[in-house]
């Protein structure tokens, strides 16, 4: 079989493109440290969230000076809590689960994006270096008021922060 030289060029260029795709994603994972959302959060009984040590106590909790946890329950048509305030310069781990149906969580203007599934804990960690306001929405259709299911995350300067939820 004769292969035209233009086709040889094309084969080489398209292989290079694929190597480039894989290379950038490897850089993102290894160099920048971008992770995927996985099942590391474990499972939970969706019918007994009130007595669960984490989800019986929703809201912002302190792990140490620079690390906070947010325990959140999604239940149609709300996030509990829906107003979150954290200090700038902190690392935040979100633990989210649902008590009714599958929901979603997308923090707008960030790459935080996961499903929230009854019985499963979605665990995602991110760093918030700068003060700012982020909205978040449910992006899995969950019922007649799905479009109202939203909340707000305020990243405030450290000295203005109101403290953890009781």
């Amino acid at each position: 079989m004769e292969i035209h030289r233009y086709e040889t060029i094309w084969f080489a260029a398209s292989l290079l493109l694929i190597v480039g795709f894989i290379g950038t994603i490897t850089y993102g994972a290894v160099g920048v440290g971008v992770e995927m959302v996985d099942d590391s959060g474990g499972t939970v009984d969706p019918d007994n969230l009130g007595s669960h040590e984490r989800f019986g106590d929703t809201g912002v909790h302190k792990v140490n000076e620079s690390h906070y946890e947010v325990n959140m329950i999604a239940v149609h048509p709300s996030f509990i809590p829906s107003e979150i305030e954290i200090p700038a310069g902190s690392t935040v781990t979100f633990y989210m689960t649902a008590s009714d149906v599958t929901h979603g969580f997308k923090l707008v203007d960030s790459n935080l994006n996961t499903m929230i599934i009854p019985g499963q804990v979605s665990e995602i960690t991110a760093e918030f270096d700068e003060p700012g306001e982020y909205g978040f929405v449910c992006h899995e259709y969950c019922g007649s008021l799905h479009h109202e299911m939203a909340g707000n995350l305020s990243v405030v300067p450290e000295d203005e922060w109101g403290g953890v939820d009781s």
């Binding site: 493109l17 790459n111 935080l112 991110a126």
Partner: protein
Amino acid sequence: MDSGTESASADAWDGEIETEIGHDEYDPYGTLTLIGIYFVIIALLWVFMYFVEFLGEGPTVM
């Protein structure tokens, strides 16, 4: 309609060969240029999407 199509295809296939060229003399550089432009656009869009829209988007899952 039918006869028109028939005569057009008959013209195309029944004509004498004017010039016969070899495999490597076929040189569609216009197509090569066009595909080259598409290729550069795709490569630049990938760089924009990954480095600007994704990695530059702010907080990310760590």
